[in-house]
Amino acid sequence: MNELKRILLVEDSTNDVELILAAFAEIKLANEVVVVNDGQAALDYLYRTGAYAEREAELPIVVLLDIKLPKLDGLEVLARLKNDPALKLLPVVMLTSSREDRDLVRSYGLGVNAYVVKPVGFAEFVAALREIGLFWAVVNHPPPGVARDPSA
């Protein structure tokens, strides 16, 4: 399981981070989860700039992206990624509180791979994350360039 690819979680709410990690634990998803707290940090991580200049080259297998974020919001981060030929194939899942149509419409317009509204109940939350985690981290075959553990 050491070879499981990392998941990048972009989330500014520590409560949400904790709930998400608890849910992952619940479903026994063993992938490493890297947490960044704002949009700029997400881009730094993905582009290996700023605080993340020294990280190893491999890209995460999926990015879980909140919409309301400090500095750059999730939609801006999404736009940057999907407009960059080098990163546009990286799977991005919006994971957000918002059920607003315009967020949905804009996200899909920008080329998001999935859009998940965080359910209120913890059981439902776990169920949703189970789907996301299993699909994106385990079932889905990432496009070339987004490395995936061949043994998984």
């Binding site: 709410s13 918002s98 149509d101 315009r102 109940g121």
Partner: protein, 567 residues
């Protein structure tokens, strides 16, 4: 005359015969080959008031000065060429010193050798014909002027201009203002200096409404025209305000006048005045008829122009009002758009920021229950459940409120909706609520409607869900859906035999967060019927309910018929 010459050989006898003929014909004269007058008929001498001697020496004094040059040249040319000649001119009558129009003709009388021995002349009084022709000409020109423009004051000035000198020496037009005072629009005379004098006189001696001798105001009051063929001197004295005024008026030699009211639709609008002075003209009832014809046309033109102006003003006012209204609508629309924008931002924030903490409460409460549940006593576990449920309810309220707000903001996308299909689909969706119950559905004939399918579905789902919810205590639940086609709308009704409601709270049913039951009795956030009302209102329909406690409830809504079937 050659015939006469041949017949009468004796020259003395011949002269006698000629004189007899000449005396019998009015206005005759004879002259020598050089044009010097030998003889003038008695009637001519009487008309001109000249002796034969005076006629010979100073005939030109009785010709109107304006006509003198032309008649002199025609006469000279005739005498020189020896050919007959004629001329049109005004000749003064001695009796009243007025000039009348004549045609004068001269024919040469020749001897056997062909030499001119005499000129035979006559003059025919054509004054009446000439004046009548001029009057008709004037009337035609004036009428044409009157219908040519809506600027009636300018038109009246033009008409006054046309009236002199053809019809009068002076012409004046005065109009009444709303306060009943006359204002002079025009005064004309062929001589501009005299016009200036008239304006100056008017300023110095304005017409006096209270003076019974003031002709203009008399005509305004009576509405009747006045014709004075000969102005008696005492009338002028009566009209003069002071000695100076009298002197000036006397100098103007006013002789005859016509005053007519300008009347339209039974109202006097002003006066039209013609005065004869130095021309020596004398007005007759015929002239009055003509001037009255003209006054009628003029009054009609004034009235039309004023009506048109009033209509135009009203139109302009309406236009200004419309513009102001449109500006206000634009302003209000902008304000509403701004408010809507703010609401949208607010909802967006609520959607993101208010749901999150509620989710956290539920999430951690449930995590806590999993971790510590087994070690907690029943009451503590109950607390955790309550925390979780309360937060869940809070989140549901937020969601419902956002939905409600969204219903008011989203665009309507109308299309033809098959109600039976829509109801069937809602029933399938609500199947879980029917589990273990035997519900009698009575669904009438439902015509297709024009509506936003998604919104109408939400409305129907709310109503059916309510019916299912409130029939729960009923052992034999029955739900009826019926439609009634009315003139301008379709009325739909969802009726159940559930717990009903107290009719006094009917108004509150459709309010946001208004509930008639406790959450323990019947769950809900109290927003369902508010949504129904909002959706139906957005379609232009109405919503109401009838019911009684324990006797079921009926919810009605209407949908207006589509204006255009293609919409």
């Amino acid at each position: 005359m050659d015939h006469v010459t041949a017949l009468i050989a004796d020259s003395r006898e011949r002269d006698e015969v000629l004189r007899t003929i000449a005396d019998a014909v009015p206005y005759m004269w004879t002259a020598g080959p050089d044009g010097a007058i030998h003889y003038a008929s008695p009637s001519w001498l009487a008309y001109t008031g000249l002796t034969l001697e005076q006629t010979r020496s100073s005939w030109s004094t009785i010709i109107h000065p304006d006509d003198l040059p032309s008649i002199a040249s025609v006469r000279v040319a005739g005498v020189e060429s020896g050919k007959p000649y004629e001329a049109l001119c005004r000749i003064r009558r001695a009796s009243d010193r007025t000039y009348r129009w004549f045609i004068t003709r001269a024919t040469p009388l020749r001897n056997a050798d062909g030499h001119i021995v005499r000129w035979l002349g006559n003059a025919i009084d054509i004054d009446e014909q000439k004046r009548a022709a001029e009057a008709q000409e004037f009337l035609a020109a004036a009428t044409e002027t009157l219908v040519s423009s809506l600027d009636y004051e300018a038109t009246l000035r033009q008409v006054a201009r046309l009236a002199v000198p053809r019809l009068a020496d002076w012409c004046a037009v005065d109009l009444l203002d709303p306060h009943g005072s006359l204002h002079r629009v025009a005064v004309t005379h062929p001589d501009p200096a005299k016009e200036a004098l008239a304006w100056a006189l008017l300023e110095r001696y304005p017409p006096n409404p209270d003076d019974p001798n003031d002709g203009l105001y008399r005509v305004v009051r009576s509405g009747q025209p006045e014709l004075v063929p000969d102005i008696p001197p005492e009338l002028i004295e009566l009209g003069a305000r002071d000695a100076e005024h009298l002197r000036i008026i006397r100098e103007l030699q006013l002789r005859s006048y016509i005053l007519v009211p300008l009347t339209a639709r039974g109202r006097v609008l002003g006066t039209f005045s013609l005065i004869a002075a130095e021309s020596g003209r004398r007005y007759t009832p015929k002239d009055l008829t003509l001037v009255q014809d003209l006054a009628r046309s003029a009054a009609l033109a004034i009235d039309n122009a004023r009506l048109f102006r009033d209509v135009q003003r009203s139109t302009e006012q309406i236009q200004a009002l419309n513009e102001a209204l449109e500006a206000r609508v634009r302003e209000r629309t902008a304000e509403l758009e701004e408010a809507n924008q703010e609401l949208e931002s607010f909802c967006y924030s609520v959607s993101h920021d208010l749901r999150a903490p509620l989710r956290h409460v539920v999430g951690f409460a449930q995590l806590l229950a999993r971790r510590a549940g087994p070690t907690l006593d029943e009451q503590s576990q109950g607390y955790i459940t309550t925390i979780s449920e309360a937060a869940t309810q809070g989140a549901r309220l937020v969601d419902d409120l956002l939905d409600f707000s969204r219903l008011g903001r989203s665009e309507l996308n109308k299309s033809s909706v098959a109600l039976p299909d829509l109801i069937a689909s809602v029933q399938r969706e609500l199947a879980s609520e029917c589990e273990g119950r035997t519900i009698t559905w009575q669904i009438g004939a439902l015509p297709p409607v024009q509506a936003d399918p998604a919104l109408l579905r939400i409305a129907c789902k709310n109503l059916l869900s309510n019916a299912l919810k409130f029939t729960r205590p009923q052992p034999e639940p029955r739900i009826e859906i019926t439609a009634e086609l009315r003139a301008t709308e379709l009325e739909l009704c969802v009726r159940d035999n559930g717990v009903g409601f107290d009719p006094q709270f009917e108004d509150k049913l459709f309010g946001v967060f208004q509930r008639l039951h406790s959450a323990e009795e019947f769950e809900g956030t109290g927003i369902g019927l508010a949504n129904v009302q909002r959706i139906i209102a957005r379609h232009g329909g109405r919503t109401w309910a009838k019911g009684a406690v324990g006797l079921g409830a009926a919810f009605f809504f209407t949908l207006p018929h589509a204006q255009d079937p293609s919409q």
